[in-house]
């Protein structure tokens, strides 16, 4: 026999204005196993909660129903109330007689009163079968994994490491830095990224709490929040990085020449190479697809020139395993594949380039040392046309979203171009100009006023070659005129897309992505740095197009989430999870297949389903599918639901 107390809230007139609360209290006090029922003006107020506490003690209640607003409002409040006087919090239930009764049946007061009684009775039936539950505790491994060594991953790693926790930073390239290191200058302050980002890279490289695994990729992740096991592939670099000092002599002597990815194919690199001179770690790798020894069987010049004997052509991929408690995914972006856009002559004309290529041409450390010699003939371009929204905001052909950074980087590029070529002219074809950050609008105005960038509102219809010029046909929709420009260089602001391989990684990590492959946050406004899967956090452009300040802010946000996770020795998990009756289970395995969290495994020896309580999120899908009825969702057990149905179906 239970000793149940029922507390009915007036909520001022919100409930009492429609439902006859006195009558309800009287009717439910006669209900079986109810030893006390009362009503009160505001149950959630301090005196209201005190009354519940006193009655629990006085009447020796072992379960409490509060008939009030929706459980989403005050379930936690009242569970804490009864817990404070020694009751198990899960022996407290809410009967929703406000949102789903008094507020929606305001014109039928008598029927609303009857309905309120029924709702309370059904909840009493549920409570009768509520077991006291204890939140599950799991220990936390206080080490974090950060995937991606761009500015997002760098910032997140430094923040976590500075809080005193160990970080494993995995970067697929041989150096951290990401796209930021490719940039010429950064808007809206025109700082050089080398000046602001390389010190951070060095910090990462030297931080005692950061284990940097460059030229590595995450192969496999198992486990759950607080207890992940990660397998990392360390790709063969063919250079023993422990011996190598990064002197660079091997690179000097390498005879192979390959288009440089870091310079966006505008210059050549060697087959043994580092990404850029300030690389962290500053160790080369051999590109086996282009190395003469690997392709033709002869050469080994690098080996001969390495006095430290660091070159090792026999090196193979190796694997390391790490235990971590939280994972930050900061895999960044790529620009949309230009070959996909046929209409702007990319690929056909050398002097049609994308934003990142122009960044390299404008970068003081780039292939042209900051003077934007055009790719075809090395002339200095005097007329440069920038085209905005190529691939972005184009739902019919490519991507419907705004890539967010292009408006700003185009202003910046046009400005830096003008600084390099003062007698040149920059034209920008735009759809709308979106400069919505601190100092951004002022930056645009400066570009227009001081650097005389000419903004033309309209799309470009055609680009074709005319001698050594590129003819650009477009429209100025503000004046209604056709525009024709004889350009020397055309720059396309390509859409930002998730980095190559991010989709596959998301599948490995069991993270959800949107239609375009950007990672999905737990809540677009209130939980923007968390993923829906506990223990995973998001930073930077892997989640959506972002500029550097936003990326850094999100990375710090993700890092502080990790810190707060690590501030506890144990994590508590809602005990609303599935349970197996091993006597009944026949081990058919239907539940194992259905579970979206891989929380169920069939024990081969016992032939029964085993649930990992830390992985179970409590959806109950397995319970509904179990043909033998061996699975039950705690707090929503079959008998509880059936008894509620019985109450509701009664006359």
């Amino acid at each position: 026999m239970n000793r149940i107390g029922v507390f009915i809230c007036h909520c001022g007139l919100n409930i009492a204005g429609t439902v006859d609360v006195k009558k309800v209290a009287k009717l439910v006090s006669d209900y079986s196993e109810v030893v006390y029922a009362t009503d009160y003006m505001y149950m959630c107020s301090d005196p209201g909660q005190d009354m519940i506490k006193e009655m629990v003690k006085e009447k020796k209640l072992d379960g409490v129903v509060v008939a009030a607003c929706s459980p989403t409002m005050h379930e936690t409040t009242f569970r804490n109330t009864i817990a404070s006087v020694g009751l198990n919090p899960y022996r407290g239930e809410i009967a929703n007689i406000r949102e789903q009764c008094s507020w929606v049946h305001q014109n039928t007061k008598e029927i609303a009163t009857e309905k309120a009684v029924k709702i309370i009775e059904a909840i009493i039936e549920k409570l009768k079968l509520d077991k006291p539950l204890v939140p599950l505790s799991v220990p936390v491994t206080k080490r974090a994994l950060v995937i991606g060594g761009g500015i997002a991953g760098i910032q997140a790693s430094l923040d976590i490491a500075d809080s005193g926790y160990e970080v494993i930073l995995v970067e697929k390239n041989q150096s951290i830095g990401g796209h930021m290191l490719q940039l010429s200058e950064t808007f809206p302050t025109l700082d050089c990224p080398q000046c602001i980002a390389t010190p951070k890279m060095v910090q990462v490289g030297q931080h005692p709490k950061i284990k940097l695994l460059a030229f590595s990729e995450v192969e496999e992740v198992s486990g759950y929040v607080g207890n992940f096991k990660v397998k990392i592939r360390r790709k063969a670099s063919f250079v023993d990085w422990d011996k190598c000092t990064g002197c660079g002599f091997c690179m000097e002597k390498c005879p192979a020449k390959v288009p440089s990815e870091f310079n966006e194919f505008l210059s050549k690199r060697k087959a043994i190479y580092t990404l850029f001179p300030q690389a962290v770690p500053n160790k080369p790798v051999i590109d086996s697809n282009n190395c003469l020894y690997f392709t033709k069987g002869k050469c080994r010049v690098c080996e001969k020139n390495c006095s430290l004997k660091a070159i090792n052509f026999e090196q193979k991929d190796s694997f390391v395993e790490e235990n971590v408690g939280a994972i930050i995914v900061a895999t960044g972006y790529d620009l949309m594949n230009k070959a996909e856009v046929g209409e702007y002559g990319y690929g056909k004309y050398k002097d049609v380039i994308d934003g990142l290529q122009l960044e390299r041409l404008l970068a003081p450390a780039g292939p042209t040392e900051g003077i934007p010699y055009r790719p075809s003939d090395g002339k200095i371009p005097k007329e440069v046309v920038f085209i905005q929204c190529v691939g972005s905001r184009d739902p019919e052909h490519y991507y419907p979203y705004c890539s967010k950074i292009c408006c700003m980087y185009t202003v910046k590029q046009a400005m830096i171009y003008k600084h390099a070529v003062p007698d040149g002219q920059a034209y920008v074809f735009y759809m709308d100009i979106r400069c919505n950050g601190k100092g951004y609008e002022e930056f645009l105005q400066r570009g227009i006023e001081e650097d005389r960038i000419l903004y033309l509102r309209g799309r470009v219809s055609k680009i074709f070659k005319d001698g050594d010029k590129i003819r650009v046909w477009g429209a100025d929709t503000l004046t209604g005129r056709k525009i024709e420009i004889s350009a020397d260089l055309v720059v396309l602001a390509m859409a930002m897309v998730p980095s190559k391989g991010a989709k596959k990684l998301a599948e490995k990590l069991r993270l959800t992505t949107d239609d375009y492959g950007f990672l999905t946050e737990a809540h677009p406004k209130l939980r923007p740095v968390e993923s829906l899967t506990a223990g995973y956090f998001l930073a930077g452009a892997a989640q959506a197009p972002k500029d550097i300040p936003e990326t850094v802010a999100q990375a710090s946000g993700a890092a502080s989430k990790v810190d707060s996770l690590f501030s506890k020795d144990e994590l508590y998990h809602e005990p609303i999870i599935a349970n197996v009756d091993e006597e009944v289970c026949v081990g058919c395995g239907i539940c194992e297949v259905l579970c979206p969290y891989e929380a169920i495994e069939i024990d081969e020896q016992d032939k029964v389903a085993k649930i990992n309580p830390a992985l179970c999120e409590g959806c109950g899908t397995c319970c509904a599918a179990c043909p033998s009825g061996a699975l039950e969702l705690e707090g929503f057990r079959r008998k509880q639901i059936l008894s509620m149905i019985k109450v509701f179906a009664e006359v």
């Binding site: 949102e99 507020w103 029924k118 959806c619 599918a625 079959r638 639901i641 509620m644 179906a649 009664e650």
Partner: protein
């Protein structure tokens, strides 16, 4: 006039929150529905629906998250498949499949929730009382 008895099952994250929003908006709907909160529509066993009819309910409403929005990734798809089969099964025992209604209701669709419940209540009213109840089956099985 015949007042149907409808039992509703709503998932905690979308449909139940949608029903709450109907309240917050004061969108009125007929009081015939009585709601049971479950964590996910995917946890609604066919047994629950059958039990509801057996106990004398005239209609059963099931509310879940919109496709792609399931809090638990894919529970609503599983519900959808189960309900298709269940409708077929209940028509075999002489119940109109329209007595079961599955709807996706988001936490933002309070007004829509109220409209759906109003429509469904009217539909059940037209269909009349649960024939199993009249034939006394509820005492038999």
């Amino acid at each position: 006039m015949f007042e149907p008895k409808i039992i509703g099952f709503c998932c905690n994250w979308c449909a139940y929150a949608g029903a709450d929003l109907a309240g917050i908006n004061r969108n009125q709907y007929p009081p015939n529905i009585r709601m049971i909160r479950v964590m996910c529509s995917g946890t609604i066993e066919p047994l629950y629906v059958v039990k509801a009819f057996k106990e004398g309910a005239d209609g059963v409403f099931i509310g879940g998250c919109h496709p792609g929005d399931c809090h638990y990734q894919s529970g609503n798809y599983k519900t959808q498949r189960r309900i298709v089969l269940l409708k077929r099964a209940i028509s075999e025992i002489g119940l109109d499949p329209r007595r079961i209604r599955l709807e996706w209701v988001s936490a933002a669709e309070g007004q829509r929730f109220a409209r759906i419940i109003t429509e469904f209540t009217e539909e059940i009213r037209k269909l009349g009382p649960n024939p199993l109840k009249l034939s006394g089956v509820e005492n038999g099985i």
